[in-house]
């Protein structure tokens, strides 16, 4: 169906923020009449690419060609005038206004300066009729489902632009039936010759609707492929960054220790977050958790740590049932949690390295039993040395440290509480190579000392080094558990791909 006419071509687009390359010489081309899926984990550069195309960000380099002519949009409105429309995940319309007003806001048909409401509604009905949508256009937008709101947003964007339509995770909050409705509209627009960029995390939707797919990782282009003939496993490996050929590296991590589980969860789960699961971690064991973004990995960690509360099931420590109703309770039981988003959920930026290190221990002791300053200094000095945290001074605000050193200070925060069970969510994301290796060594050392660890990671080749078991998640459920020889990057990717396929069927 897709023609050979290239609608939009991006060549060597680059964008840096404060010296960090968010987009590194990325090429992208979109033909007329095709649906082109744009994939990548968080921070891969998808939204940066979109914002460069729509002019929301000024690009540092590269060029953008629309129908063969170089364009340089100065902003979203400018891009719209050139023919590039965007619809975001959170519908950016005005829910309190009517459907017709939303469609024609800023360009209402007027006579003598007054809005001609009747004319506007007539045009709105005609416009939505093209999409097979017969609704009361005078009713407020908020009275319709999210799917209808999405279609209204698409109708508006297409009406304003008409050459390229960018859909940023449009299906994220839709149910299966609503996705069908949306896809019908997308197919219809495709038949009209629009080029459609479709950002999603759901692989089955890619195979269902996209003609080609482009994968980004760490701001770089991994590759573009036609979907026809593309193997699911190949796509997963493109996303998670691993060539299937150089496989089967020796695993050093490994043997599952003997003995009963120290930490055990049975039937834990939360509606709308993650399906009920069983999970157990032995003393001195590292259990890995793998899955694509949005598969329920972080949600599992939030439940275990008491940030969210489980709908049912039971948590046990050494065979004794415990309640985990809040982080404070979990910490009282000897749990620790290093979250994925260090800046938002981890560091307390304006406070010193010392204060960040003692925070969890102090919180557990309660406000009335302060750690003496001397004990704080000693704790800080001990961990700064043991974990080689590079800082000129324990009193330096932690926000001035590099990502890797911040991560080490956060690990120190938990180690200071002498935890029995530590949950690490993407412990090596966004930190430099040196610190990377140190954190992996630290995980192995803690495990050897008898601590129980649960490590969530997208870096599969890393995960298999230290994890003795890997739990695989997909579509907000625990779908497989790999042990022993099966713990390899390809094994994990096959488990993910197998389930994604099953979900699509």
């Amino acid at each position: 169906m897709a023609s050979d006419v290239v609608r939009l071509r991006v060549q060597g687009a680059s964008k840096s923020f404060l010296g960090i390359r968010a987009l590194d010489r990325v090429d992208f081309s979109l033909r007329a009449g095709e649906v082109h899926a744009l994939l990548g984990e968080n921070g891969a550069g998808k939204s940066t690419l979109i914002k460069v195309i729509t002019g929301a960000y000024r690009r540092d380099g590269g060029e953008i060609l629309l129908d063969g002519a170089a364009i340089d949009p100065q902003g979203v409105t400018d891009a719209q005038a050139l023919g590039i429309g965007t619809v975001y995940q959170e519908v950016n319309l005005l829910p309190n206004l009517s459907v017709a007003e939303n469609l024609f806001i800023g360009r209402e048909p007027t006579r003598f300066g007054l809005t001609r409401t009747g004319e506007m509604r007539r045009r709105a009905r005609a416009l939505l009729g093209q999409y097979g949508l017969a609704i009361d256009v005078g009713a407020p937008l908020s009275s319709f489902s999210v799917a209808v709101q999405q279609i209204v947003a698409i109708a508006r964007a297409v009406d304003l632009s008409g050459k390229v339509l960018i859909l940023d995770e449009p299906t994220a909050s839709l149910d299966a039936h609503e996705v069908d409705t949306l896809f019908e509209v997308v197919l219809q627009l495709k038949a009209r010759g629009l080029g459609i960029v479709f950002i999603t995390h759901f692989l089955d939707q890619v195979f269902r609707i996209a003609d080609s797919v482009t994968v980004l990782r760490n701001g770089r282009l991994v590759g573009s492929r036609p979907v026809a003939g593309l193997e699911r496993i190949e796509l997963v490996s493109m996303m998670l960054g691993r060539e299937l050929q150089d496989e089967e590296r020796a695993r050093s991590g490994g043997a599952t220790p003997e003995g009963a589980a120290a930490i055990r969860f049975t039937g834990y789960g939360k509606r709308g977050s993650v399906a009920p699961f069983d999970l157990s971690v032995r003393r001195g064991e590292v259990v890995g958790m793998a899955g694509l973004l949005g598969s329920g990995r972080t949600e599992t960690a939030r439940l275990i740590f008491g940030i969210d509360t489980s709908d049912g099931g039971q948590a046990e420590i050494d065979g004794t049932p415990v309640t985990l109703g809040s982080p404070a309770q979990a910490i009282a039981h000897g749990f620790g949690f290093c979250p994925e988003d260090r800046k938002v959920d981890g560091i307390v930026g304006d406070l010193s390295v010392r204060e960040n290190i003692v925070l969890a221990l102090q919180a557990r002791r309660g406000w009335a039993r302060p750690l003496p300053r001397r004990a704080q200094d000693e704790l800080a000095a001990r961990y700064i040395e043991a974990l080689d945290i590079r800082t000129s001074d324990a009193e330096k605000p932690i926000k001035f440290l590099s990502g890797g050193n911040q991560q080490k200070a956060l690990l120190a925060r938990w180690l200071a509480t002498d935890p029995r069970f530590l949950i690490l969510d993407e412990p090596t994301r966004g930190i430099d190579v040196g610190a990377h290796a140190e954190i992996i060594r630290l995980i192995e050392r803690l495990c050897a000392d008898g601590m129980s660890l649960l490590v969530i990671s997208s870096e599969l080749e890393e995960l298999v080094v230290y994890a003795s078991r890997v739990v695989v998640l997909s579509d907000r459920a625990h779908v497989a558990e790999l042990t022993g020889e099966a713990v390899t990057p390809s094994g994990i990717m096959q488990a993910i791909a197998a389930h994604e396929k099953a979900a699509a069927a």
Binding site: A332, D345, V348, Q362, A363, A368
Partner: protein, 342 residues
């Protein structure tokens, strides 16, 4: 020793500002620094500054803790009116002084807990949550006084407005005492650290096991309690409860005192001593304008102009300008400070 030095360095901008303001007034009115000892107490313009500044100083103590958690308490002026009305109506219905004071403090505490509950449990933005009581508070106070200015003659209660201890006016003793007590409480326990952590990053603090809700409740309760003391002092000072005017706009002066004291409205690091000095800067300006004999209609404008100057000098933009202008600090090598000798 080193801790005291560090504290002094931290407070240097505030102390310098206060000194400059006082020096300017002293330059214009040489009699300003004169102190007399009469009838067993100290008199003079300086004592007057300390005395008149008492309500704002008391409010600033609680406000500092609230602002350190990235919050704000707009209701303190109204709480002053409520608690002043409670104290006046209880004492005029022949309640013993101890009962009157205890109930007044209890009412202030309840007001603070109400604010704290809205912020901590319902997650309402502090500015809105406390706006409710700011607006409703004067109505409540009017209901208590039944719309009149409730005057009283109880010597015990009046003592809190015009009495003196060891030669110092009672209001001064009260704010000094309260300031030292609260400062010791938060710095000798872990409260200070935990409050600062919440102010900088509430989510991260919660995830580290800090009981954020309990602490938020505590700081707003403290603010309510401070407002109750300020309300009692203000009522005792005029020997009556004026529901309409007691503590009017003082919440804004208290916020200003905290900001002048170097605590950021974005939360985090705080200094109660800084806020108290800030309150005295504001009062010194008020007294100075009063002494100057300018027509009273200029007062607010002059005060605003002086405060703008102070804030511009303290602003991060001009701070970095000063650093830039200081040549020896321009090399970028981080200097490792020596650890204080133990």
């Amino acid at each position: 020793m080193s801790v005291a030095l560090k504290g002094l360095r931290r407070l240097a901008p505030q102390l310098v500002t206060l000194a400059v303001v006082l020096a300017l007034i002293g330059f214009a009115f040489p009699g300003f620094f004169q102190l007399n000892w009469q009838n067993g107490r100290l008199y003079g313009s300086l004592v007057d500054v300390l005395n008149r500044g008492a309500p704002v100083a008391l409010l600033a103590i609680g406000m500092t803790l609230v602002i350190a958690t990235k919050g704000i308490d707009l209701s303190v002026g109204a709480v002053m009116a409520i608690t002043g009305a409670v104290a006046a109506s209880l004492i005029t219905s022949d309640m013993p002084l101890a009962v009157t004071l205890a109930l007044t403090l209890l009412v202030g505490l309840a007001c603070g807990l109400w604010n704290g509950a809205l912020v901590a449990f319902l997650d309402i933005q502090p500015i809105i949550a406390t706006l409710i009581l700011m607006v409703a508070g004067r109505g409540i106070a009017q209901l208590i006084t039944e719309g009149v200015i409730l005057t009283f003659n109880d010597a015990g209660l009046i003592f809190f407005g015009s009495g003196s201890v060891l030669g110092l006016p009672m209001p001064v003793v009260l704010w000094l005492l309260f300031g030292v007590l609260v400062a010791l409480l938060v710095r000798r326990t872990a409260l200070g650290l935990l409050i600062e952590a919440i102010g900088v990053n509430r989510r991260a603090s919660m995830l580290s096991g800090v009981r954020t809700r309990f602490l938020l409740l505590t700081v707003y309760a403290t603010s309510g309690l401070c407002a109750a003391v300020a309300g009692t002092v203000a009522a005792a000072d005029i020997r009556g409860a004026d529901a309409n005017n007691a503590g009017l706009w003082l919440e804004l002066d208290a916020i200003l005192a905290v900001v002048l004291g170097g605590t950021s409205l974005l939360g985090g690091r705080f200094s109660i001593a800084g806020s108290l000095i800030g309150a005295m800067i504001i009062q010194a300006i008020n007294t100075g304008i009063l002494l100057s004999g300018f027509p009273p209609e200029f007062n607010l404008i002059i005060k605003a102009a002086i405060i703008v100057v102070i804030l511009v000098v303290q602003s991060p933009a001009s701070q970095s300008l000063f650093v830039y202008l200081r040549p020896e600090r321009r090399d970028a090598t981080p200097v490792t400070r020596e650890r204080p000798a133990r």
